[in-house]
Symmetry: C2
Subunit: 420 residues, 2 copies
């Protein structure tokens, strides 16, 4: 969508439909007043996917359940060719909220249904997907199970090897919902032109800037380390400071340093130390070991590399200077995923006409998303809807109906520009 194109006409959707479908979806696995408890392949999850398949069908889409249980709805294009897809996931944290994932599925459906009703069949095919799994809330190493199947990144042994928190393999859970785990490879797609994901922000930036919708410029990359510092346990009174090898002193210096380094770089760099374990963890004993995690993120590849290098240099430098033993382990590593500029431009242009008054912020996603996986097979982009208080992964998660509608209308307007 070149910036010289005339501004698109905003595609308005029916707020009551959005409200009703979000509420009905939230009934599957309802947890308390506002939460959901919908692990992949559970009865609540299966009911949610079946309900969505029914909505797809009643909205005139061709429905298909793939080999891992992703549900696809397709609006055939007049000229054929690769499809432009949208959607998100339906599994939840335990408990999670009603918007994380669900908004992108309902929003994609409402967008396609509205476009078909109002403008007839598109030039290029449009699809909406309800991915089966994103949260890893039942199987800790299964995250992005749905989108990884679509990009062909689940190997043939993985279904039997991927164990749940209860010790049972995901293959067994698949068989319970009539999926054959030996056929996972059949979920692979190579006929998509683009993937655009609508999602709740899960952070406070849009609320802080007073905007209902934001256009995502890239999805963060990150590295997660476990740092273990080993010193010498000593009596808190009898050992002079200058003779100590105190891993707590080293840990404090490193933690303060990495957090400060990210803060000084400014948005969108973030570094978090969320976990610390001290041994023996007694008031009167200089610790023997202090272990902690460091999670550093940046959506720009070069900036991420620079942040990671600065952190590792600090960690090694402090340990060496203080004579502490250091075990530094990289637990996971994900490269940043830039959103494709033409797709970003289409979303920007759509948001500009949908959201009246006030600008549309562009922001990076600090959380990871299915779109990041989909980037392996097609260009991707994302659209965020404001989250109240930035809350996510909790029943308290909330986005107003007005904000959800603004997000869906932006999506629909952009899809029209891209596919009609």
């Amino acid at each position: 969508m070149p910036s010289s194109a005339p501004p698109p006409e905003p595609v308005r959707v029916e707020p009551r439909l959005v409200e009703r479908w979000l509420a009905e979806l939230a009934r599957h696995g309802a947890h308390g007043e506002t939460g959901v408890w919908r692990p992949v392949y559970s009865p609540a999850w299966a009911a949610a996917q079946a309900t969505i398949a029914g909505w797809f069908a009643e909205s005139g889409l061709a429905v298909r359940r793939d080999a891992v249980g992703n549900v696809w709805g397709r609006l055939e294009g007049r000229t054929g060719g690769p499809a432009i897809a949208t959607g998100s996931h339906v599994d939840s944290q335990l408990p999670g909220g009603r918007f994380d994932g669900a908004l992108g599925v309902v929003g994609g459906l409402v967008a396609l249904r509205t476009l078909a009703e109002r403008y007839g069949p598109p030039r290029r095919p449009l699809e909406v997907v309800a991915f089966c799994e994103e949260e890893a809330s039942r199987f800790p190493t299964a995250n992005f199970w749905g989108s990884r199947a679509v990009i062909g990144r689940i190997d043939s042994e993985e279904p039997e090897r991927t164990l749940g928190f209860d010790g049972a393999p995901i293959a067994a859970a698949m068989r319970e919902v009539w999926l054959d785990p030996t056929r996972v490879a059949e979920a692979r797609r190579d006929d998509l032109a683009a993937f655009i994901e609508l999602h709740s922000e899960q952070g406070p930036i849009l609320e802080q800037t007073g905007a209902p919708v934001g256009v995502v410029t890239g999805i963060t990359g990150y590295r997660q380390w476990t740092v273990e510092l080993t010193g010498t346990a000593n009596h808190a009174g009898a050992c002079p400071m200058d003779l100590r090898r105190d891993p707590m002193a080293g840990a404090a210096e490193i933690v303060a340093g990495v957090i400060d380094a990210a803060a000084r770089r400014g948005r969108p760099a973030v570094t978090t130390v969320g976990r610390m374990v001290v041994a023996p963890n007694l008031r009167s004993v200089v610790p023997a070991t202090v272990g902690f995690t460091v999670d550093a993120r940046h959506p720009d590849p070069a900036a991420l590399r620079s942040l990671l290098a600065a952190h590792e240099e600090l960690i090694r430098g402090v340990a060496a200077r203080r004579g502490l033993g250091l075990a530094l382990r990289v637990d996971s590593d994900r490269i940043p995923c830039p959103c494709q500029p033409p797709l970003v431009a289409a979303l920007r242009a759509a948001a500009a006409v949908v959201v009246s008054g006030g600008g549309v912020p562009e922001l990076a996603s600090g959380a990871v998303h299915d779109a990041q996986q989909m980037a392996a097979i097609c260009p991707v982009a994302m659209l965020f809807v404001r989250s109240r208080g930035g809350l996510s992964h909790t029943p308290e998660e909330f986005s107003s109906l007005d904000d959800c509608v603004a997000g869906i209308e932006t999506l629909a307007t952009a899809l029209r520009a891209l596919a009609y």
Copy 2:
């Protein structure tokens, strides 16, 4: 002992007696090859106290078990008057080593026995005590039970109110060894002229300076806080650094700051953060709360006050600047206990003639001791014996026989100067 006095004659003791008694005492509650497990009022403890009482008697001392189970041995003085006492405790950490406490009891006994054999009855009475309890290893709030009884600091309800880790009161444990918990007040003494405690150093200073013995100039004072910082839990990726209220960032700044403050002040200031608890303690979540302890010590009252004030100012300042909730609780407070200069001078003069070659370091005790309690009723002093690797509160604790003998000879030489 004015410094103009002629140097005393060194009182030599029999190393084999020291070796044998230390080894025999270590059999009561033996734990593994080199450890002891001797909680107060346990059968192992009772056997140890009975054995010591037997050694006191066979060494010609008048033996008395007091109302809390401290065992006293007395060498009557020719002129009467208040007694000069020495000794230490026989209970242990679980497990502890063979020297912590035991060395002061055996050493005091060997010193008095040697003085009596070699020089006859003293001018002033001499006593040696095996305190029943110092470590609080069975009853977490009972520490200094033996010496606190002697100074009259156990109130009448305390025996029933002081509960063990098993939930039973110390009163019940006392009855098991035929002590009447209603008579604790009878252990009080007001007829002591001085108390001198010989103890293993439990720190690395003497080893570092190459000295077998050190004279203690004061016993540390300290304050122990619990600091609880409260912020806002947030997604590690989606919340920008500038919008966080991260208690881990505040904790790291405070921990680094207090440790650095003590290090910059130099010996004998020490500050330790030994314990930290993070919630929810997850890698991908900015913590909601971080709680940690701060333990700051200094043997000089003015320097301690200054160190504590600097720490509290830093803690409050960081919490306020970062917008964190702060709960700052003082868990315990102990004022420093200077050793009495004439007693210190007597020990210094004795050490100078006992330890051939090399100086005798003077150092502060960063650990707390029975002597600190005894200071409430009489002047006190302490003598340290080198600990291998500075280790303590572990079966690895070790002081060589030569070093133990040097400490006991210094004690005996000083007691002779003071009491003969």
